[in-house]
Subunit: 354 residues, 4 copies
């Protein structure tokens, strides 16, 4: 099994980059919630391509069509199915890579798994385009979470050595990245990041980055020990986003350089409530929320589609071959992945809270 | 749900640090495999405490008793249940922390989740002691994997700024860490790490570290797209190990500082097979193995049980309180967590390959 | 969770009777199988309404549209999504039952579950129309099973006291019910059943029946003990068909009147293979196939939509009310449920065999 | 996977008839519930053998030992593990059936599945003895259900043509079968059933029967559409009880002989609440509870272990052989299966309600 996940809120993602349609079924949404579709579209727009000079000029018409699950705009308890019909396909661009897999793409591993019957066009089911349904599902889930006083926000923490402002994990505040075309907290840092992206793009190359996400408003006591904790379930789903190669919570990998006395979050009483003075744990102890903000970071690798000539092989001839990737590809997808991280987080957290 | 995981090979872990017994049920093992119990015990011994000056002097008698699932030493297709009876319990040591949660432990979050009925003694179900059944299950699974030509090995990559030797992800080689009391590749680096641990211990403090794990021998084509890929499933299970705060595959978080042209793994033909020249992807593309070694690192936080006085609160009185942790605690658990990472990896990989 | 099922072959059914579309996502199909779409359509046609005097005159245009998962007619490993767009909707017919639930329909239980936000039109997600996607998924799975030499066939065993011919569970033979408009083995018995249906229809009433299904070609040794046996999994899925109220395997409920010496299936050697002389076990012992045909029967209740005036209540006024159901309803759905039983069986068996 | 089931309340059953121990892990029980262990033992005693002339003279010492999950008699949120150590094993009795499978047992199907490595002694993991852990788990779950005002009771509905009193599915009443050594409502009918059992036993034969179970106190609105309804989930788990060959809800298979006007449950107002005048649906519509009692029946086949000589085969020699089963076997297990049906129902219903 593969493109389904969840326990109470289950999602089933379908589609290939160039199939007739892509979409998602969301099963388990409580009935009676009025969905603000404007807000959903606005959210989805954040990941849409073609918005600025950094992303692909091709225009996706990502208009989601609801096939089921809503009656008069309200959830009705039946699975909600949404489809986006694919229009602007350039399958011809992929003719050369059927036999010559692109380095660090899923071309080769999928070829082996599917005996050469995998859909190579546009990356098939592995395409970043499949994150559009994830954003749709996440935007829906987020509206349920908002009713519970829960807020999810993400920002680019780093691109090619350039860091955004450091976050205070105890007081998350408002980042307003949802309103920005380039989702950083400090726009000056954002400009430097954009410079790096443009430089890489000019070289026919690409860059990756780190996205940081915070969830506020989740009370203490959610999550399960061992294999069904918050970290387990977020990790399982976040790795469902193409190009993710790592996830860390709170201090993450930095813990390897700290003493326990530095890393431990001491308790205090604030506003009549039990809190921790620091939040190096990222809001989770023993897999269970402690009431502090949930904070994690995820590593996004550089887009593997680069225009520099690369070494590959002919699968049929078993010979080494040069590969020149054609078509239109973003030199960086980190900025577009920011809402995707928020979306997958929303899907996961709602599933946990139900 | 919580302490069960797996699709084809399912494990169910039970027990608390001071309950009558701890153990695991392994469901789905193929019948007819002769289990080498000596080898299992030897593997379990690697995580056992009291082996050297670095770990707790208390002696666990971790003798696993098989209740079911084996007939004449062979798996018989029925669930294999193993129990370790707890003997040496000092519940009195935990009397003060019932009301005063230890910073960065699960004491508080579990207290809230379980309305104060969580078992606090020795950390209850959240105790590192529960990794003994994981090691047992992993050692069993590893024997099945060995028959398939698959090898799993882990080493301490870093403790408090001291790095072990860098790994060549293309040619993993033999690390021999299973034979060492301190599982590093370069023993000189190990000595420096031990110095750091001892220094922290002398200060009543603790240190964390990073464990690196490699799986060799898995053919290309295993794993599923999106939510059931190798990364998703390893991450879900690895976060089941106490103190894990991050996981990264291949280049991991370093991808944020690399160009696509640096991070991409170009293909080549070697020994008549398709390989990649580098293995920055850690053996996985699109969630599916590409035939190269699977490589990941996981961050282990410093033991939260330190002897330095810390700030906590009284849950009953809602007042701030000083906390002095008593008992016996390791200044570092990273070295003992190395076989645990191997074990959980074995459980996960066998589940995926079945 | 609800309308998803399966372990390796997962299906996710969506849609309401009068939503924009209904359909199914099939996740986990092996890549590289050429789907015979003609055959799929022919199979779906068997459950389609309006074929004869017994079923509703309304014409469903059940043309399945493939959104994803096929490339050049071959499965490609990506989830296969199929949609049927709803056209001929008479939502007005349901205006009176929003407040006055129909006896033995899901109107009331769904109203309570979904706080009155359930989609009542045409039965919403509970409509028999949702069996069209099940038939589609089943027809696809059946093509994979045929490659393995497995055949699934069902017939009406009984309607209102009239029995079809008795089956020899050891030698199933060919029933050819797929080619008949009324799927019985003995057409004479079929005529008598039709008379009963027409009589009930003339009275504004309805009748139920029993469907018998046989699966041949499954080798011994499939299925799991206890909760994941063939019976468990078939039962779980077969109860997903609307109106099913019972399932029994082999001799089923008749076992209560038999001696062990009558019910036991003695072994013999036939054609050089181990077989049983009788097949009262329906091909399953201990949840695991024994190589004999899998045989089960399932009870289908009379269509609850009858035209006779019935007692109901006003949910808003909490008063007892008379109810007169309008619209077009079949006096019997058993004949249309026959391919649905085959379809769900195919989905389940393929999932088990993968 | 096999001997694990459940979503929120998960159970993992382990053990073979003659392994060192058998038992169950229950994962997901809410913390803070004081378990009445006396009551649990009393419940388990209902299925214990050797109580009267009808069941095996061998004495099981079914003393459950709690390994984890309870602190001072309260659930603590950690998985509850219970073990029963096996003592009185007569493995020698099974020497002849290793090669000569017993008709209608799992001997042959398990032999094929497990390549001859299945544990044949006492039936191994397929033994009725494994229902002891199920009863333990059910008795625990029942105490949680009682707190919610939910009651589960079962009785023998039929043995070899002798029926117990007919139940009024609208007003279930108190059956008091838990207090009886032979769990029928009408003891006179019970005597007739016992006569049938004794007669079969005297002939070296066995008889089966039907168990009827009712659940009262579950409010309307629980359960999910399609594959996760009450019927689906009860059926999946009830078929986990050895010897079960059928399950039917409400009118069950009788629906095939009824008109819709006879089978439909008309609504009424009673005691200010919405009820149905009849309960032919067995409390479930569209998979969801309607507030009426949940009623189902399950068919238990005659014990396949009979003392009459039977035809079998030699698996090694591939020759037909006579088989004479030795040892001690009940001529009827229906009476002992009654608490097992209640137990599995309790496990399932608690899982659904959580």
């Amino acid at each position: 099994m593969s493109s389904m996940t969840g326990n109470k809120i289950k999602i089933s993602v379908f589609g290939q980059s160039h199939s007739k349609g892509i979409g998602v079924v969301i099963d388990g949404l409580p009935a009676g919630k009025k969905i603000d579709m404007e807000k959903v579209l606005k959210f989805m727009d954040r990941r849409a391509p073609g918005k600025n000079s950094l992303s692909t000029p091709r225009k996706e018409s990502d208009t989601p069509e609801i096939l089921s699950g809503l009656v008069n705009g309200n959830t009705c308890g039946a699975p909600l199915c949404m489809v986006i019909y694919n229009e602007n396909q350039h399958s011809a661009d992929y003719s050369n890579i059927i036999d010559t897999p692109r380095p660090s793409h899923a071309d080769y591993s999928a070829y082996i798994k599917h005996n050469g019957f995998n859909d190579i066009s546009g990356g098939g089911h592995f395409s970043g385009r499949l994150t559009a349904p994830l954003c749709f599902a996440g935007a829906i889930c987020m509206q349920f979470l908002e009713d519970m006083g829960i807020e999810i926000q993400a920002h680019i923490q780093k691109i090619k050595g350039v860091y955004d402002d450091k976050i205070d994990y105890v007081n998350i505040g408002k980042w307003n990245t949802a309103e920005k075309s380039f989702p950083v907290i400090n726009d000056e840092k954002g400009k430097l990041m954009i410079e790096e992206i443009e430089k890489a793009g000019a070289d026919g190359d690409s860059v990756g980055g780190v996205i940081e996400c915070a969830v506020t408003g989740v009370k203490a006591g959610f999550g399960e020990p061992m294999f069904d904790g918050i970290e387990n379930r977020l990790a399982k789903n976040i790795f469902g986003i193409p190009a993710v190669k790592g996830i860390e919570f709170g201090n993450g990998f930095e813990v390897a350089d700290l003493y326990g006395s530095e890393n431990n979050d001491e308790f205090c009483i604030a506003d009549g409530k039990i809190k921790t003075k620091t939040n190096n744990s990222g809001g989770i102890n023993g897999g269970i929320t402690n009431g502090m903000p949930i904070v994690f970071r995820t590593a996004i690798k550089p887009t593997p589609s680069i225009f520099k000539e690369q070494e590959s092989v002919s699968l049929e001839k078993m010979t080494e071959e040069k590969l020149q990737i054609k078509g239109r590809h973003d030199p960086c997808i980190v900025q577009r992945a920011v809402p995707v991280v928020e979306a997958v987080t929303a899907i996961t957290i709602l599933d946990i809270l139900m």
